[in-house]
Structure formats: structure tokens, C-alpha cells
């Protein structure tokens, strides 16, 4: 981050507080900046409010009745067995589920009080504010430099591109390793470097939230450790939601943990995910209130 939150807040205010923003993007952005500025007060501020969210694929519910607040400048972990709908749910937060025609989202996903599935919301604008890192590193078949510059370029960001790239790579803890080979193809990097490149790429567009869908599942423990350190650093300036199968990871990095489970429906045909417990990570792992959570986090099942 080149600017601290307060400074951003001042800028946001200076650019017309109370005035009607000219674009939807402007509105989302201004609200995001205002919210970020309030972090100084020390209170937990929800950035997302999920109200009775459910996702169905072709009418078959994959996950349902999810009610959770997700807090700002915290790492929120979604854990649970395979097929419990964690990845499906995280993809609601930046409307990636829109890409699957058969998927329908019910309930409300509030982002800074704005319903992300409201009729006047453009999913492209949502994704500008809410970045995503995927399970398998997916660098573009371009140079390291162009991978980072892609986002700022398509969003029409002004400024010195070299600076933007360097800043993003520094925030992604990758700069020192790649500064001498920015023009080489990103496919030549190791898996862990590729994943940090994907994180840096997401940071280059200066999002508000970063969603991570099992970001370390394809990486060795050393690369995983680096990415976890990076997440803890990024928490200062961003809000992070992470889906993980690695419970130690959730315990190490997250502030809040949501435990999902799979339930068979009445006629025992479809499996649907549900949130069993959502609480401070420490409580979920040391003193869970639901026995299913306890069985899972202690390794008795799953």
C-alpha cells in the first residue's frame, strides 16, 4: 500500500462526500474507502453481510441458508469437507458464479451495505473491488510484467506502469525474486512463485477484498508458509476470505472460521452444504460449540 487508510479517506471525502457519485464504480469505491478509514476506531466492521444465501445449480441446492458477517481487515476462513459448498459460496462474493449459467443465487450478499446481486449492479464493477486467487495458479501466458500490468491496463488505471508493477510485486513478496526477469514468461516460475504472482496480480488493481479459493492446495509446505506470511501482511490493508482444506492453515492465519458441513436432503438424493458454526478461529479450534465441528477439527472425521 502506498497510502494509509486515513489518507485515502481524506481523498475520498475531498472528491465529493455526500455528492451523488457519477458512476456505480465510484459509489462502490467511495464506500469502500470510507469503510476502510473507519478501521482506526478499532471496532469490527462487517464488510460482507450474508443473509440467507443459497446457491443452486440447475435447481439443485449446493449450499443454503448461509448467514454470516465477514469482517474488514480480517482473514475469514471457510472450512469443511469436500462438496460442502465453500468454493461455491466464496464465488458468490465476487459474482464469479454468474459465469455458470445454471447457477442461481438466492438471499442477499451485502457488501458495504450494498446488495451485490441487486438489479443495478454490474458484476464487472464488483470484481474490480473484490479480487480473487484460485486453487491452481493461473498466470497468463505472458511475461511476469504483463501479468501484473494486465489488470491496471484493462481498468484504464493512470500512472507509471513500471511503478504499479513494482509496487504490486513488492506487496506480493515476489519483487526480489523476479526483479531481474520481469520480461520472462510467467510459466517459467515455480508453482509457489506463480501463486504469489497471481496474488500480486490481484493486488495491482488495488482491490478492497481478496478471495482465495484453496490458494495453497497445489503448493509445497515452504511455498505455503510464504503465502501464509503474505496473507498476514496483507491483512493490514485488505480483507481476505480463504477457502481451505488445511485446518492448520485456517488455525494459523484466520481470525474467523466458518465450518461447513454436508447434509442429505429429505429424500436423500442431493447433498447440500450448510454452515454449522461460525466464530472466532480460536474458539472454533479449541472450544467448538457444535460436536460436528469438534469431530472435524480434531480429525475424528473428514
Amino acid at each position: 500500500m502506498t497510502q494509509d487508510p486515513e489518507e485515502r479517506q481524506r481523498e475520498a471525502s475531498a472528491s465529493g462526500e455526500g455528492a451523488v457519485p457519477s458512476t456505480r464504480d465510484g459509489q462502490v469505491q467511495t464506500q469502500a474507502l470510507e469503510a476502510r478509514g473507519q478501521k482506526a476506531s478499532g471496532e469490527r466492521k462487517p464488510i460482507f453481510g450474508l443473509e440467507n444465501v443459497g446457491v443452486a445449480y440447475g435447481g439443485v441446492p449446493a449450499v443454503r441458508e448461509v448467514d454470516l458477517p465477514i469482517y474488514q481487515n480480517e482473514i475469514t476462513a471457510l472450512i469443511g469437507p469436500s462438496g460442502c459448498g465453500k468454493s461455491t459460496l466464496i464465488r458468490c462474493l465476487n459474482r464469479m458464479n454468474d459465469l455458470i449459467p445454471a447457477a442461481t443465487v438466492t438471499g442477499k450478499v451485502n457488501y458495504h451495505g450494498q446488495d451485490l446481486y441487486g438489479s443495478d449492479i454490474d458484476p464487472v464493477q464488483v470484481r474490480k473491488r473484490i479480487g480473487m486467487v484460485f486453487q491452481k495458479p493461473n498466470p497468463f501466458p505472458k511475461s511476469i510484467y504483463d501479468n501484473i500490468a494486465f489488470g491496471p491496463r484493462v481498468l484504464g488505471q493512470k500512472g507509471d506502469m513500471d511503478e504499479i508493477v513494482e509496487s504490486a510485486l513488492r506487496r506480493g513478496a515476489l519483487w526480489d525474486e523476479v526483479k531481474d526477469r520481469l520480461k520472462t514468461n510467467a510459466f517459467g516460475m515455480s508453482g509457489g512463485q506463480q501463486q504469489r504472482l497471481c496474488i500480486a496480480r490481484a493486488l495491482a488493481t488495488d482491490p478492497d477484498v481478496i478471495l482465495m479459493d484453496e490458494p495453497c492446495s497445489a503448493l509445497d509446505p515452504i511455498s505455503t508458509g510464504r503465502i501464509e506470511d503474505l496473507m498476514l501482511e496483507l491483512r493490514e490493508n485488505y480483507s481476505i476470505v480463504i477457502v481451505t482444506h488445511n485446518m492448520q492453515q485456517a488455525a494459523r492465519v484466520s481470525n474467523m472460521t466458518a465450518f461447513f458441513t454436508v447434509e442429505l436432503d429429505e429424500d436423500e438424493k442431493h447433498r447440500t452444504g450448510r454452515v454449522v458454526e461460525y466464530d472466532d478461529t480460536e474458539k472454533v479450534f479449541t472450544n467448538p460449540s457444535d460436536e460436528r465441528t469438534e469431530a472435524y477439527v480434531t480429525g475424528k472425521v473428514g
Binding site: M96, L99, N138, F140, P141, V154, L155, A202
Partner: protein, 300 residues
């Protein structure tokens, strides 16, 4: 059976019966034979054509215009120029139209809509329509009203273009589909629009495949004779077309037809020489396709 015998039976691996081995060998031989038939036919054709035509090949043969009376002063310049013009204008027509169609079908078309399924089935069927039918289409709609272009290079290109368009669309779709969805997702997740993602990620990734498809489509178009005959292109001309919209034109396959159907054996030999010229162009184009594929193909 004693316990010991049963134990041995469980431990030993059964030997393959000799009957199965023979079957296996026979099957392999049949496969090789099929391959051999194809290769042999091609080889015989090449040797035969080369034997007949090689002696007539010379620089003069390339640069002279065809002659009705003297085989020794006859050449294929007008046919070569006609064919090259046809290929260039056909490419200019099929690349944008074919790629745009492929993008629509892969990226925008909703498979659940009946009209999109209809378009898809139609394109597959169009690839199987005999080329002479495209000639009739070209004659009826392009040479005559409503387009009324006359028998000119542009009319020939549009006709050939329609003929090979299904090939470009099918290959283009495959190339677009080969770009992994993780690349699209990565781009969209950064806030790129659908169009930016297509233009800056999907298309560059699919380009080598699309280029290969275009070259293969053109190598089919270059040998087509029937549609050009139907739209009224000349069997040979003693001049090059000045531009693509006014003059009568000819093309290599037509001039080959003219030569080989001549009663004079010397003209028949010229036909073989012209076939060698056409084959040379085809080899160059296909080599280009192979090169593009190997050089630029993206390993995901």
C-alpha cells in the same frame, strides 16, 4: 483339486493362448496395410505426376501465359496470379467472419436456445455440402443478382470462402475451447469485461490454432475446381486480372483441367507440370501450418 494345486493356480499368471497372439498380429498387419494403401496411392501419384511433368517445369513455364497452340511456349502465369489473388481475398473474407462466428458460438451462444443449436447443426452440415453446390450458390447470388459482381476474382473468393467457412469456424471453436477456463476466470476476476477477456486473453491464446485452421481451409480452397467452373471462371486466360472486381480470371486447377483434357500429349504433360506447381504451393502452406503450430502453440 487339492489345496496345493489350487494354490499354484492362484499364483501363476495364465499364459496367453497362441490363438490370441495370432489375432493380435493379424490385427496389427491389417492396420499397417490400410496405412500402406494410402501411402502407396500418394506415392504412385507423386511419382507419376513428376515423371510426366518435371521435364516441362522451368522458369518460363511459371512466367509464360498459356497458349492454345504451342505447348512449348505455354505457361501458367495467369493461373498462378489468379490462384494467389483468390487465396488472399478468400483469407481476408474468412478470417474475420470465421473467427467472429467461432467467438459467438463459443463465448456468447446459449446452448439452450434452439436457434443456437440450429446454427451449430447447420454449420456441421454445411461442411459436408458438395462444393459444386456452393458454385451454384455463388453463381445465383454473387455473380448474378443480388450482388451482381460478375465472373471476377472477388466473386470466386466469396464462393470459395463460403465453401471453407465451416472449416474455419469448427477449427476456430476448437482453438478457443482449448484456452483453459482458468485463464478466462483469472481475467474476469481482475475486473476485465467479457470482451476484454476475449480480445486480450482468449484470442491471443487461440491464435496459433486459428491460423492453422485458416491455412488448412485455404489449402482446401486452392484445389477447388467445380465451384469456379460453375461461376464461369475461364479455363485459361492470356492476361492477369488487373483487379479483383473487374476482369475475367482463371486459377491453377482450371488451367490444369484445360491442359489435361487436351488431346495433345504435350499439353497433357503441361498439366502434370501445373499439378506440380499446385502441389508445391500446398506443401508450402501446410509446412507453414505445421511451423505455426509448433512454434506458437501454447502449452497450458
Amino acid at each position: 483339486m487339492s489345496v496345493a494345486e489350487a494354490g499354484i493356480a492362484r499364483r501363476t499368471v495364465e499364459r496367453a493362448s497362441s490363438g490370441q497372439k495370432v489375432k493380435d498380429l493379424l490385427f496389427r498387419a491389417a492396420l499397417l496395410l490400410s496405412l500402406g494403401v494410402g501411402f502407396l496411392a500418394l506415392g504412385v501419384l507423386l511419382v507419376d505426376v513428376a515423371a510426366d511433368g518435371a521435364s516441362s517445369l522451368s522458369w518460363d513455364f511459371i512466367t509464360n501465359f498459356p497458349s492454345r497452340i504451342s505447348p512449348e511456349r505455354s505457361g501458367v502465369q495467369s493461373a498462378l496470379v489468379g490462384t494467389l489473388l483468390l487465396m488472399v481475398t478468400t483469407a481476408v473474407f474468412i478470417v474475420p467472419v470465421g473467427v467472429a462466428s467461432a467467438i459467438y458460438l463459443e463465448e456468447y451462444a446459449d446452448r439452450d436456445r434452439w436457434w443456437n443449436r440450429l446454427i451449430e447443426v447447420n454449420i456441421q452440415n454445411l461442411a459436408a455440402v458438395p462444393s459444386v453446390v456452393y458454385g451454384i450458390l455463388g453463381l445465383a447470388f454473387i455473380v448474378r443478382a443480388p450482388l451482381s459482381l460478375g465472373t471476377v476474382v472477388l466473386a470466386g473468393s466469396l464462393t470459395l470462402g463460403l465453401l471453407v467457412l465451416p472449416v474455419v469456424i469448427v477449427v476456430g471453436r476448437e482453438a478457443i475451447r482449448a484456452v483453459p477456463s482458468s485463464i478466462r476466470e483469472g481475467s474476469l476476476a481482475l475486473g476485465a469485461t467479457h470482451w476484454q477477456t476475449i480480445w486480450k486473453q482468449t484470442l491471443p491464446g487461440a491464435l496459433p490454432g486459428i491460423a492453422t485452421g485458416v491455412i488448412l481451409a485455404l489449402s482446401r480452397a486452392i484445389g477447388e475446381t467445380a465451384p469456379l467452373l460453375v461461376i464461369g471462371a475461364a479455363l485459361f486466360t492470356r492476361f492477369n486480372p488487373n483487379d479483383i472486381t473487374s476482369d475475367q480470371f482463371t486459377a491453377l486447377p482450371l488451367t490444369i483441367l484445360r491442359f489435361v483434357t487436351d488431346a495433345d500429349a504435350e499439353f497433357k504433360a503441361l498439366g502434370a507440370a501445373a499439378i506440380l506447381v499446385l502441389l508445391a504451393i500446398l506443401v508450402v502452406m501446410n509446412a507453414g501450418a505445421v511451423y505455426l503450430r509448433n512454434r506458437y502453440e501454447q502449452k497450458w
